[in-house]
Amino acid sequence: MVRKLCLALAVAASALAMSASAWADITILVPSGSEGDGLRAAAADYAKLKGTKVETVQAPYANVFEQGANAGATKSGVFDIILMDDPWIPFFAENGHLEDLTSYFKNAGVEGPDNDFLSKSLAICRNPYNEGPYVCLPYVGNAQMFFYDAAKFKEAGVEAPKTWDDVLKAAKMLTEQGGGRYFGYVFRGGQGNPVVADFMPIFWSYGANMFNEDRTKVTIDTPEGAEAMKMFMALRDVSPKGVESYNANEVGTAMAAGTAASSINWPNWVATFEDPSQSKMVGKISYSPIPAGTKPGSSEIGHWTMGIMAASKNKQEAFDFMMWATSPQQIRISAERGNPPVRASVFTDPELTKQEKFRHYPVLMQAIEASTPRPRHPKWPEIENAFGIELSKAVAGTIKPEEALKNSQAAVEEITGIK
């Protein structure tokens, strides 16, 4: 009897396991953190409203890319929607993992996303950039801003930093006065994505770029690149010891604890800086667009965008959800949940902008409109890794800055095949 019961239970368990993965109408892969939390909350609202079963799978930043790439490569159809960081779009789109949205817009009776979305937010959702068909819709409007302690900068003789020279002047003085416990500038110097993310805005501010206009040449090792590198190294010299291993958390913590006066950072840190339970700097941090070098400053855009996986079996349901989640009402709710918007109407909504926690919105909107995407290439993760190693060596002082540029140029040429 017991044996028969065991067998019956084993069969039942197997049947349940097989059907478990198929219970949801839409499955969405999202990152951990506020971006993923926001979409997860929206998915729960959608499920209640429409009676659609929505499952969200949340994973750390790097794992979202890996799981999405695996699902795409195996055509598993396990995810219907992926919430992607925008530099991943070329990889997913050019390897056939993303659905072209053109026909879905047509069926919905529209030509594409409406004009309320910021133009830069829409440009990244087309592949190739700003020209090809839409392969995703923008959801979280991240772009870097410059964060600084205005009172400290004023003490150092700089009212509002407009250029990197202003930043360096104030940061140098503050670090000298800090006695090894306070620093004028802090940045993400960790090898790979962190150091590249904090170098690119400076690189662009000096007129440098990774490729020329028509992508026929790699242009890292140029006089403009050298000038940017010179400023980056000068900023390193006024940053805390150990910045070589810093990532976003260390930079955010230093700013919130009031041990550093300025940094480049993402807007989702505003909530932390303005939260008395997490920050000593509530109301003291000012926000500005990225300072200028020899050219106007430009932020790195880092939007989170929703795309439909090509192997999804619920594409229309997925598209309907995306259209609903990126509607003006939902983007406003998403903003209240802590995610920067992607629509002009939400950025300029007086109900929001009059609140202290949204006082950075005008600056952020300006930053998005003046932003630059990371070089759009399907091999971007590999390019970023190679560039990040050389930058890390320069920050750590194991090679000269000019060697880092030369080596990066050679490495990117090798990876892309562009000589």
Partner: protein, 306 residues
């Protein structure tokens, strides 16, 4: 015989038959899921890895795999990042395992006489190796944090210069080794302690009667007796050190300046970040080959020495 009686007898026979069949085959049925899972999780991936290593695998599912023969293995000879990772892995393995062995053996010799009574101390010493590697890595990340970490706070209070433990090119590998030594010295210590507890008493009594010094006894008796235990301990630690991942991933991410990039981290990057599973499989096979060669050589040497 009535029709209903015939039916009852037939169903009884059938029931008995089923019972006999289940008696004979149930064990296989119960084992089947485990065997299937083992085949799926070990045999199939191994074959798949060999197959992938001789192909260029595109992340685009619509493109076929291209047979490239030994190209992926030939890449190992010219890939600078692989060579850096290999060098770092060798440095880490040699230094970390040596320190763990010397400390573990030394502690075992020192505490051999007392530890049998102090079970509490033995339990405390075991804690680090019972912790998940990820928890150990996060704990050490907090200890090493340059601005708020406890280590630099102590340095600052002692008037010593604070250090970027995981961020300094000269200290990063050292910091990872310290964390690994903290976690795995107890493993060697426990094995050595077990080895010491099993040593015969007579040879020591005879040696003492012959006037052999403690050092002589240690060198000529303890070490030869312990050799099999030492071999197992070193082999297990070397194999584990070659697979180091968690500490590096959390503490340094392979930086600064590639100083802590080890083979496991590089394989992970190649497979998942650069979407090149064919080359990742080739590097994994290289590591597997090195581990097999090393362990075979090691065991042979130990057997010869015995």
């Amino acid at each position: 015989m009535l029709k209903s009686e015939k039916g009852t007898a037939a169903s009884l026979r059938l029931g008995r038959g089923m019972e006999q069949w289940s008696e004979r085959h149930l064990r296989y049925l119960m084992l089947a899921p485990t065997v299937v899972i083992l085949l799926a999780l070990t045999i199939f991936p191994s074959i798949y890895m060999f197959y992938a290593a001789v192909h260029r695998v595109s992340p685009n599912p619509d493109l076929p795999w291209t047979f490239v023969g030994v190209d992926n293995f030939a890449r190992l000879l010219t890939d600078g990042q692989f060579q850096v990772a290999l060098r770092n892995t060798v440095v880490f393995t040699v230094v970390a395992v040596s320190i763990e062995f010397l400390l573990g053996l030394g502690l075992a010799l020192l505490l051999d006489k007392f530890i049998r009574r102090l079970t509490f101390l033995k339990t405390v010493l075991m804690i680090p190796m019972m912790l998940p590697p990820i928890a150990v890595a996060i704990t050490w990340k907090l200890i090493y944090e340059p601005q708020f970490g406890v280590l630099n706070e102590i340095m600052f209070r002692l008037g010593l210069p604070i250090q970027a433990w995981a961020g300094d090119v000269n200290l990063a590998m050292f910091s990872i080794i310290v964390a690994d030594v903290w976690q795995w010295t107890p493993f060697i210590f426990l094995l050595m302690l077990a080895g010491l507890a099993s040593l015969p008493v007579e040879p020591y009594e005879a040696a003492a009667l012959d006037g052999a010094s403690s050092w002589r006894q240690f060198w000529d008796l303890t070490i030869p007796f312990l050799k099999p235990v030492i071999a197992i301990a070193l082999l297990l630690r070397v194999m584990d050190a070659l697979r180091l991942f968690d500490l590096v991933f959390i503490l340094t991410g392979g930086g600064p300046a590639d100083r802590t990039k080890v083979l496991s981290l590089y394989i992970y990057q190649v497979a998942y970040r650069f979407a090149d599973p064919g080359y990742a499989a080739a590097i994994s096979l290289f590591v597997l080959f090195v581990t097999i060669v090393l362990s075979t050589w090691f065991m042979k040497r130990m057997r010869l020495a015995e």
